[in-house]
C-alpha cells in the first residue's frame, strides 16, 4: 500500500483528467483535507506531486490551483508528445513482432466497434488508450512514464478547448499509422502522427475562461471510497444533488465521464481502482 499522499494525488489526478476539476480551480489545503479526511500536510504532499506532474501549480503563499497552461505551453506539450510518439514509432517499425502488431490492430478494431455502436464515451477512452498501448509496446518503462505524463497534460488541456472532435477521423489515423508502420513506411507514419496531433491542437481556443460547475467537494465525491471514516459522512452515497449554498454561475459545459475505468496507468506504484461507485 503506497503512501496516503500518493493516494490523494492519484484521486486528484483522476478528477482533473476527468474534467471534474477544471484549470484555475483553487485547491485549498483546508478544504481538501476536510474532503479527504486527512491532515493538511498530506494534502500538501499530494499537491507537490501534482505540481511536479504539471497538473497543478503552486503559488507561494497563495496556494495550489489546477494548472492552466498557456497556448504556448499547450503547443509545447503536443510537440513533445509528437516527438515521443514518432520516436517510439521508429523503434517499433524495427523491432515489433507479429504479436505487437496484432495487439495494435485489435485495439483499433475495438474502438471501431465502439464508434459503430454509438458509444462515444468508450470510443473516446479507447482512442486515448491507443497511444498508451502504442508506447507500452516499446517496453521502456521510463518512456512510458514520460509519455503518460504528457498524455495527462493533454487531457487536462481538453478542458480549455471547444472540443468537438471527429473521432472517426482520428480513428482512421490510428489505423493508418499501424498500417504504414507495419509496411515499413516509417517516414509517412511519422508525418501522420504529426498531423494527427496538429489536428487536435488546431481546434484549441484557449482565451476562454472556464468556470467550474461544482465545488471541489462535489467534484471529488466519486473518488472517495470506503476508507473514509464514517464519523462525519453520510456515506459515500452522497449524490451531487446536494448543493451547500454557493451555486456559482454554472456555464453550459457538458462533462461526460467514461463508464469503464481504463486505469490510465499513471504511476507504476498505484493501481487501485476506486471508481466503481454507484452513481
Amino acid at each position: 500500500m503506497s503512501s496516503r499522499s500518493q493516494t490523494i494525488a492519484d484521486k486528484l489526478t483522476r478528477a482533473i483528467i476527468d474534467h471534474r476539476l477544471v484549470p484555475g480551480c483553487k485547491l485549498g489545503e483546508r478544504e481538501l483535507s476536510e474532503i479527504f479526511n486527512v491532515s493538511r500536510i498530506v494534502v500538501r504532499q499530494a499537491l507537490i506531486r501534482l505540481a511536479d506532474d504539471g497538473l497543478a501549480q503552486i503559488e507561494r503563499n497563495r496556494g495550489a490551483f489546477v494548472a492552466k497552461p498557456s497556448m504556448q505551453e499547450a503547443m509545447e506539450i503536443y510537440d513533445a508528445l509528437t516527438l515521443v510518439e514518432q520516436g517510439v514509432a521508429a523503434q517499433l517499425s524495427d523491432r515489433l513482432g507479429p504479436a505487437g502488431w496484432a495487439e495494435l490492430r485489435q485495439h483499433v478494431e475495438r474502438q471501431r466497434q465502439a464508434v459503430a455502436a454509438g458509444n462515444d464515451a468508450l470510443a473516446d477512452v479507447l482512442g486515448q488508450e491507443f497511444h498508451t498501448v502504442f508506447v507500452r509496446l516499446s517496453r521502456n518503462k521510463v518512456m512510458q512514464e514520460i509519455h503518460a505524463q504528457l498524455v495527462r497534460r493533454t487531457t487536462l488541456l481538453r478542458s480549455l478547448i471547444t472540443a468537438d472532435f471527429d473521432y472517426c477521423n482520428l480513428l482512421d489515423d490510428h489505423s493508418r499509422v499501424v498500417d504504414l508502420l507495419e509496411k515499413g513506411r516509417l517516414k509517412q507514419a511519422m508525418d501522420l502522427i504529426d498531423t494527427h496531433h496538429r489536428a487536435v491542437v488546431r481546434g484549441y481556443i484557449m482565451d476562454r475562461e472556464v468556470f467550474p460547475e461544482m465545488t471541489p467537494a462535489e467534484a471529488l465525491v466519486p473518488y472517495l471510497d470506503g476508507t473514509v471514516d464514517a464519523a462525519t459522512t453520510a456515506g459515500p452515497l452522497r449524490r451531487m444533488a446536494k448543493s451547500p449554498g454557493n451555486g456559482k454561475a454554472a456555464s453550459h459545459l457538458h462533462i461526460h465521464l467514461p463508464k469503464a475505468d481504463p486505469a490510465p496507468a499513471s504511476r507504476a506504484s498505484n493501481k487501485k481502482t476506486n471508481r466503481g461507485l454507484p452513481s
Copy 2:
C-alpha cells in the same frame, strides 16, 4: 522564492549528481532535518520531489534511499535520452537558424579548449552541458524539463560504472553531430547520437556495490549556504541560495571508487553498507 522543500530537494539533487551521495545511500529524515536545520516534514516533501524525479526511491516504512537503478532501467534511461535527442535533432535540422548553429559550435569549441588545457573537470561539465544546450535550442520548455530529468538520471548512473571515458571521442561526436545536422544529413546525425549513447552505456558494469565515502552530513556540507546554524536569525542573507554556480564549478570532484571487490555480488547477507564508517 520557492518553498523550502524545493530548496532542500535542489541541494540533494546536486549532491547526488555530484556523486557525493551514491546510490543506495540512506536518506534518513531525522538526519537530514538536522543537517539542514529544518523540520522532518520539509525533508519528507523534498524526498517526495526526489522520488518523483527518479533520483530517490521511497520504501514504505523503511525510508528513502538514493536510487539504485538496475541495468535494465539504465538502458531504458539511455534509450529514452537517445529518442529525445534524436527527435530534437530532427527538429533542429529543419528549424535552427545560423545563430543556433553558432552557439553549438562555440560550445564545442569551449570544450575543446578545456580539453587542450587539461582541465578535465571543466571538460566534463561542458560535455554534459552540450546536450542541454542542444535541447534548449528546440525552444520547448516541456521538452527541456523532460530531457533535464533524463540527464540527471544518467548522471546518477555514472556513480555505478567503472568510468573511464574517452572525452576526446565524445567531444568529436558532438562536433560531428553539429556538422552533420547543419549539412542536413539528419539520418547520419541520429545514428551518431545513438552510437554516442551506446558508447557510454557499454562501459557500464553495474553488478558492483558502491560504498559511500562519507556520511550524508559530510557529503552535504558544500550545499549548506552561509549560515548553517542560523535558526534564530533566519537570515535575509540567504538570497543567493539558488545560484547554481557555486555548486557546479567548485564542487565537482573525482571520486575514487573502491577497488573491485571479489565479494559476493548479489547475496544480501551483509546489508550493512550504510554509513561509510572508517573500516
